[in-house]
Symmetry: C2
Subunit: 413 residues, 2 copies
């Protein structure tokens, strides 16, 4: 009922604020505090709030708005400039973790088909968690941030494709894979991203006024939000993560004149709704499924493999940017967050994962999400603003960078 619902929302929101405050005093990103708050008030510890479909959709709305805001700070022109590096980062970030995950699965006694499903969870990247950390540090304008977010979008598409292949492998058993269907899924996903990114941005660039309704003064915001929800729903409909559509909607709107006004108007929406995403993510951790030294050892091993796979793979792919930038990009790709959890849920509902392997994948997704932010914070705080040569090596000119740094500063006010 309503009262229980509102009480749950109150507890989640309150403890998100408390967790964020504690984390920030400990020099950790606020998002770590929010996930920890979810573990604390969730069924694993205090049990004050239990996961529900209602909280799931609120959490999803929070993630959708967060990725919309991230898209809003992403210009297609900038993304195209870093496209080649981002593509290499995404590719290396898929291949190495998949191989490591597959090897661990086979070594642990799983069938090749089951090991492939575990490996698929290793390939996931959570753009949401890294984006939030980058936003907190005012680093969304940095070249590394744009490569990470660009690669995360490509990763999501590739991960969904791998998941499609793996699911088809399970379902078909010995009958062979339906390659035509797989090709169709791939084509649809790639087509969606390309059409929205290229055609959408071009329309908005030419006619920013489509966002202005004649009477309502807030119409650029409401029109953009309608577009965001629509593309998120469409994205989910064709089998991609909803947040991909939201990110693309933000990227389209970023071409409009109202871009800066919209960025400012999004702040209160993010402050209200994104805590639900991170607290609910924490609430889903089942600490009891992780008891026993053997399970904990397995958790340690897969967390190290999953971390090393992304860090080394993506770092190597980005080595042309210099050691520190490569490290930032490698670490930035580590968090699995909600994407790893989604793969785990799919594996469980398909009867492939038992309770333990499900809890392992979820815990690995969360551990990678908790390990990476403090390292990323330290790397970014020590990092000098990218030099001309670094920026140029990725094709970004100085004016662009300084413009983006000024945006960064206003983000703190």
């Amino acid at each position: 009922g309503g009262a229980g619902g509102l009480l749950a929302l109150f507890l989640i929101f309150l403890f998100a604020q408390i967790g964020a405050e504690i984390a920030q005093r400990l020099k950790l990103p606020a998002v770590v505090g929010e996930i920890a708050a979810g573990i604390a008030i969730g069924p694993s510890l205090l049990g004050w709030v239990t996961p529900s479909s209602l909280l799931d959709i609120l959490a999803e709305v929070g993630a959708v708005l967060l990725l919309f805001a991230v898209g809003l700070e992403t210009r297609l022109g900038d993304l195209q400039k870093i496209g080649k590096t981002a593509g290499m980062v995404a590719g290396a970030g898929i291949v190495l973790p998949f191989l490591l995950g597959y090897a661990w699965g086979v070594f642990s006694g799983f069938s090749p088909a089951h090991a492939a499903f575990i490996a698929a969870a290793f390939t996931a990247t959570s753009a949401g968690i890294t984006a939030r950390v980058l936003q907190e540090l005012g680093a969304l304008g940095r070249i590394e941030a744009r490569i990470i977010l660009g690669a995360a979008v490509l990763d999501d598409i590739l991960a969904m494709l791998i998941l499609g292949v793996v699911t088809a492998l399970q379902a078909s058993g010995n009958r062979g894979v339906d390659w035509a269907h797989l090709g169709f899924v791939l084509l649809q996903a790639v087509g969606f991203v390309v059409v929205v990114a290229l055609v959408g941005t071009r329309i908005i660039k030419k006619r920013s006024s489509v966002l202005d309704a004649p009477i309502n003064p807030l119409s650029p915001l409401t029109m953009s939000l309608a577009g965001c929800l629509g593309l998120a729903a469409l994205s989910a409909r064709i089998g991609l993560a909803a947040i991909i559509g939201a990110f693309l909607a933000g990227m389209v709107v970023a071409e409009s004149d109202q871009r800066h006004a919209l960025e400012k108007q999004m702040q209160p929406l993010l402050a209200f709704l994104t805590p639900f995403f991170f607290v609910v993510t924490g609430m889903n951790v089942s600490l009891s499924a992780l008891s026993g030294w053997q399970t904990l050892l397995s958790l340690a091993v897969i967390t190290v493999l999953a971390t090393a796979g992304k860090w080394i793979g993506c770092g190597l792919a980005a080595r042309s940017l210099g050691a520190r930038s490569a490290a930032i990009i490698g670490v930035g790709m580590v968090p699995r967050g909600e994407v790893g959890i989604i793969v785990a849920s799919l594996g469980r509902s398909a009867g492939i994962f038992n309770d333990t392997i499900y809890a392992l994948i979820v815990a690995m997704s969360l551990l990678t999400s908790v390990i990476a932010p403090p390292i990323l914070t330290r790397l970014l705080k020590d990092a000098p603003p990218p030099e001309g040569s670094v920026a140029e090596s990725a094709g970004v000119d100085d004016e662009d960078v300084s413009l983006l740094y000024s945006v960064e500063e206003t983000g703190h006010s």
Copy 2:
């Protein structure tokens, strides 16, 4: 699942914008267009979206934030000045509609106890709908607006009490009423409102800084929202409407230095979330339960009685402010909105209302909500700013009024 959820949110949000745009072109308040959009896409007509507990809680969050924002524009000092008039308006707005509703119930062949339950639905006032219309017109600073909202808060408390009495009457049958319990419910409700309104405002007035967390720059907003959700949940817990707690939270925060910044930050939140409240209200209308001329005749009669009861009762109570102000207040108290619908739902789940009387009460609640806004808009557009004598008659000095008018203007930008 997620996709269905997001798709429903998209359709609701999109058609809310379309409905609002059409309504405003027809010189109707946007809220009428949003309710009409809900009827159109809901089960009665197109059936694209069906009511669900998920949508109910989103709608409730929208209503809670709306009443929080209304509270934010309400100063306790101003409310105390108009307290006597608001009290008279609230009292008359309860007594006359209750008598008319009771008379209709008995005349239509219901038992006295059932007739009393129908009468309870007649006493409801929806602060939400009137507040939105007043906000759209930039009229929240007017003396009439503050009397309406003050009276609506009192009305809600009185209506909840009547509902308590009526429910106890049903439950006890011939055993007599548990007066001790009723007294406790009343005491709790009055105590909650008085303690929050008086103690809360005093604390914030003296120490505005309690809203500032040391690190988070958005903390006055997030702290206020946490307080809003907490008081809304507490309010629902003790048997009052959640929106009463939200309104009080807004009123408390209105005493802080950050008041104007918060008002501005609330705008995007309202733009995103209040459409869900109004569209879901429209979706709950069942047009098919209202077929047949006899039912339609009953609907016409109860709508006229419910409208006349508030208009005449509240108008007479406010006659000291002059004919036009009295008319504005009378009409402003007419919408039953969600409060009438809540009473109808309670009556149905208690087995007192059958499908037809339930649909009649819901439709009456909506018709009063659709009839009143255009009349209110016309009355307010033609109304001159209140003269000194009018303001003085309610104990508001000129400086106060001019200050409030300046707030009004910024509300449009």
